[in-house]
Every structure is written in structure tokens, then in C-alpha cells.
Amino acid sequence: MRYYFFHLMPWPYLPADFDTVYDSAWIWLPNSLYDPVRGQELYQEYINTLAYADELGFDGICVNEHHQNAYGLMPSPNVIAGALTQRTKKAKIAVIGNALPLYNPPLRVAEEFAMLDVLSGGRLIAGMVIGGGPEYFTYQVNPTHAREKFREALDLILKAWTEPGPFLWNSKHYHFRYVNPWPRPLQKPHPPIWIPGVGSLETIEFVAQRRYAYMGIPYFHIDVFRRVFAQFREACEKAGYTARPEQMGWGVPIYVAETDRQAREEFEPQLWYFVKNLLKGIGISPPGYTSARSALAIIKNHKYFLYTQKTWDDIEKGVYAIVGSPETVRQKLEQYQKELGIGVVLTGCQTGALPHELARKSMELLAREVLPKTRGIKQQEAAAVR
């Protein structure tokens, strides 16, 4: 079992009346609410936290891309990943991911990821995403072309990494006379490809067919993950092979403190800050971004999304987060790892305005008291449970 430490780099200083005054933490949330002086301090602390995860022995650290929002302050995760290549030694650096249709030309991703792979000595995990609904408002990229552009750009990047350049590329949305990126990635044939997903069958089948890794984005009810990983295994069988546990990642916030009660007391207010403020507006979906049927399914599944949860009981029952003493967290991790048959856990604790010292304390308890016991869960054992 591998554990990746995930950071959104949220903005923790939203005004107390945010929820009543603003309809969204995305796209049009006035950027006067961002303070660059506090921002500098925050970036420094967040980068320190990620570097600390490397010291504590997490298998990897994760950053991701979002634009014009208070939820995650990495419009360019590659910039942060670049800094991390110089601050970390062992951990994989997972950029999950770059939103391919937003890059014009998408060769920029081939170049920057190759730079990161070389800079980190082959530690990059290359996450490729379509990008969330809000990004299509922000970058004004046509949502009705999102999926086509994503597939074309992905194929272009992979070809750029694996076939000698220069070569000519022509597809519906992209045309390049000379594809020939310098540098090339260090890992052969190319850095591992991770595709984060929110549960659409279309994405699950695509990732299975390509033999990439599917990373289940957090903030959904445990039943959603049960379905997703069952469907993923089935899709792999259909594609003629058995899914490897490391192809399946479960995103879930984890917070550990000395006792169950203390953990809840420290973490719960931060979770609600995240739910009420930062998740507000994340679900806006431009027309054509999904098929009409998928759009309807998303609306119907709202009740399985963290944003619509109201009580701590909802959080616990739906396993939207794992919160408790080291022993409680260990038990739950063991139970769900076995049940889901996954080989990767992506976890973060910085969901809101969690004080930095509490974030560090939780990471330490997780790394020192929980993970040594849960790491040993054999993947065969996990696989057998399904």
C-alpha cells in the first residue's frame, strides 16, 4: 500500500460572512480577497508541509491545478512541483494533473513535465485531467470540445515522449509541423500516467483500456468508490487483464490526533469551512462538458457529494473523511483498503483553515503510528476480498 500526501493549497482567510455574501468561491470571487503578503507566507508554509511529508516517508506528494478560486492556489502546479524537486529527495512528485485542453499548445505540458521529471531525477507522476467545470469558464475554452481535445492532447504528449522527433502532428484540434520537445523525460518509456476521475464510466473505461492508474477524487460517499473500483476492475478484465492495486487510488482526507474526540474537535470546524466556503460553486458545469445523460446523472448524485452533507454523522457514515485516534484511523484504513482493493491512498488533512502546527501533528501521527501498521496490508489480500 502506498500513501501519497495531497495538498490543495486552500485560501484560509475568507471573511466570516462569506457564505451569505458570495455565491461561489470560484471564477468570479473577487480577487481583492486575496492578499499577496499573506499569500507568500502561506505558499512557504504549504511547501514546507509537502517537503515534510517527504521527510516523514510518504511515498509521494501531490499537487493539482485550479484557476481563479480560493479552493486551491495552484493555477500552475508545475511551478510548485518545480520548487519541490529542490526540496525533496525520495517522494514521488505527482502533479494530478495538468488540464490538457487549457494548454495551447498542449506541447507545453510535454515540455514542463519532462523538465520536472529530469529535475526530480525521475520522480514525476504525470497526471492528466480534463479540468473542472469552473476552469472552462475561467479560460473560456469551449467545453463542447473538452473531451476530444483531452484525448488528442494526451496522445500527442505520449507520442512526443516516446517517438523520436521531429515529427508532424495533425488531428482535429491540433496541428504542428515540428513536434520535437527538449528535454525528454528521464523515466522510460515515460512517467507513469495518472488520471483523476469523479466516477464517470466513460473515464473509468478509458483509463482501464490504456492501463493507466485511476485516482478517485475525494469528497464522495464511500458507496461511490465501491462502485467505481468494481467498475474499474471489470473494465480491466474486459480489456484482457487483471487490474493491479497500484492502478487504483482512493482520495480521502485523513486527520489524526491523540484521541477520537480531540481529532474531531480539531478537524471538524476546518472541514465545514471547506464544505461551506471552498466547495461552493465547484459544481458549475458548462453545457457540453459532459453528455446530457451524464449531466443528469451528476445532478441526481448530488446527495453523494460532500457539499450536500450537513452533519458530522453524514461525514462519518459516508466516509467523506477518516478522523480519529491512531488506532481508529488504522482500523478504518485497513477495512476500506481491503474492501476497495486499492493500492494507493491519496490523503490530505489541509481541507480548510487548519493551523499549520495541527496539520504537522496529524501528518506525524499518521506517518509514525498508523502507516507502519497499514502499509503491510498485502495487495493480494486486498485483491482477494473483492
Binding site: 469551449n142 463542447t144 453545457p287 443528469l296
Partner: protein
């Protein structure tokens, strides 16, 4: 109570109009196109808005069909019409219609439409001016007027109340409630999403055609511009802009009317179009 009565009355008119329009599906170079038609005389083509209202034979089509041979096609990608994969830009819509008119053997037509439909009519008329006998355009985007941005439909599309406020002069009126119901069923939601998907493909990056303004001078037929005086999505300044660029065009504002005159001010709207097209 009165509002309910008015709604029922409109429903009855829709029901009574129903027998007037016949549905047909024609193939336009691989684009399966559904259209309703009724009446006799000069071909009169009604190009619908993003609401996709031509999926049924509505009372205003029935009224026109007493004077003209009315055809109300569904644009590619709308309702049961196919061919969305062949549509990338507004120009593709114009080419779709010239090929449709060829297929139907129409040399010359009366052409008009509301909102998106009006824009398509303008794009058609600048390319094939000789094939348009009369042109009318209502509440259409297509141009850009500095300091007068279009309403942001995509921001509020999931909020029925805000949608009614954007599209109607009187968002509490019976027609606003009828056209934009509070709890649409699954089929209507799917249709709405599909319609907005077509619109998004055409306008997402840029909600107008930068080439259009300088091409409008090519329009050679009499042109009527009809605008809801209270249109908040495509403000009347856009009507002024069309007037400025189309030789001899007449602009008529409809009072107490938002973006959808065929619903909010049906009588004035239908009469204005009929009178203009008959003259």
C-alpha cells in the same frame, strides 16, 4: 388565478394549433433535419432561438401559416435534428440552411428568426443575399457593442428564477412561468442541456462573429429588426448596431418586452412580422 387562467388559455391555443403543422424529416447531406410546416404561398422560414421552440407547432407559427408557407426547422443538434458533429461555428449553420433550401428547391425565401435564429438568418443573408426576399431579425446576438456586454446566460442557466429575470420583461408573468417552468421533467431537462450545448459550441469562446458587422452591407433585401425594449440578454443597443450596418433596415422596439417577443408580446410581434413580410 388569472395567471393560471392565462396559462390554460395558451395551452388550449397550442392544442388547437397542433393540427396545423406537419412534421417531416429531411436529410441534408447527412444531417437529419426535423421540420414542421403548414400553409401555402411563399416559403417563410422561421429560425428558432436556443429554446428550440420549433419542436412544436406554436400559435405564432399557426398565425403566419394563414399567409405564408411556413417552415420551422430544428437546427442541427436541437431536438431530434442530427448533424451536431458537423457544426463548429455559426457559419456552419448558415451553410446547413443553404443546403437545406437547395434540397427543398427554394430559390428565394422569406427568412427570419429570434435570438440565435436571427443571427443565423443574418449570417445566411450576407452570404446569399440573392436568395432572401425579406429578412427579419429579432433580439439577435452576432455583433459586439462596446460597453454593452451580453447577459451571462451560462452563469445562471441552472437557476430558473434568474433565467426568467434575464429573458423576460415580466419574470412573474404567466408566459415566463410557462416557458421556463420551475420543475421541468427529465426529458425537458435533457433537451435544455442539449440546446445549451449547441449554443456553447457556437458562442463559448466569443459570443459574436467579428466578421459579421462588415459583411452586413451585403444584405440586399428589405430588413426589419424587432427588439424587445427590455431585452436584458441582448440589449436593444444590438438592434441599433444591426440597423447601422444593414442598408435601409428598419428597427422597431416592442414595449414591455424582454428577449422572447414571440412569447411575451406575441400579438404585436406576429403582426409586425406579418405586415412587413406581406408588403
Amino acid at each position: 388565478m388569472l395567471k393560471l387562467f392565462k396559462k390554460l388559455k395558451y395551452g388550449a391555443r397550442v392544442f388547437l394549433s397542433k393540427g396545423g403543422g406537419q412534421e417531416e424529416t429531411i436529410d441534408v447531406h447527412g444531417r437529419s433535419t426535423v421540420l414542421l410546416h403548414g400553409g401555402e404561398g411563399t416559403p417563410f422560414i422561421y429560425l428558432h432561438s436556443t429554446l428550440g421552440e420549433s419542436f412544436r407547432w406554436l400559435p405564432f407559427l399557426q398565425t403566419w401559416s394563414k399567409s405564408f408557407r411556413v417552415l420551422a426547422p430544428m437546427h442541427p443538434g436541437f431536438g431530434k435534428s442530427g448533424g451536431f458533429d458537423q457544426i463548429d461555428t455559426i457559419e456552419d449553420m448558415a451553410f446547413h440552411y443553404v443546403e437545406m433550401f437547395d434540397a427543398l428547391g427554394f430559390e428565394e425565401v422569406i427568412l427570419g428568426g429570434v435570438s440565435l435564429g436571427g443571427w443565423i438568418a443574418a449570417e445566411f443573408a450576407v452570404r446569399w443575399p440573392e436568395r432572401v426576399k425579406k429578412l427579419w431579425i429579432a433580439d439577435a446576438p452576432g455583433l459586439w457593442v462596446e460597453n454593452t456586454p451580453l447577459g451571462d446566460l451560462f452563469r445562471i442557466m441552472q437557476d430558473r428564477e434568474k433565467l426568467r429575470e434575464l429573458l423576460f420583461h415580466d419574470p412573474k408573468g404567466h408566459m415566463a412561468g410557462l416557458v421556463l417552468e420551475d420543475n421541468p421533467d427529465e426529458e425537458k431537462m435533457l433537451m435544455g442541456y442539449q440546446s445549451l450545448t449547441v449554443l456553447a459550441r457556437l458562442v463559448w469562446e466569443r459570443p459574436y462573429d467579428p466578421k459579421l458587422a462588415n459583411r452586413l452591407r451585403r444584405i440586399a433585401c428589405p430588413t426589419l429588426l424587432l427588439w424587445g425594449a427590455n431585452d436584458r440578454l441582448v440589449p436593444p443597443a444590438y438592434g441599433e448596431a444591426y440597423k447601422k450596418h444593414i442598408p435601409g433596415a428598419e428597427l422597431k422596439l416592442i414595449g414591455s418586452c424582454g428577449h422572447l417577443p414571440m412569447f411575451e408580446r406575441e400579438t404585436e410581434f406576429v403582426e409586425a412580422v406579418t405586415k412587413f413580410c406581406q408588403d
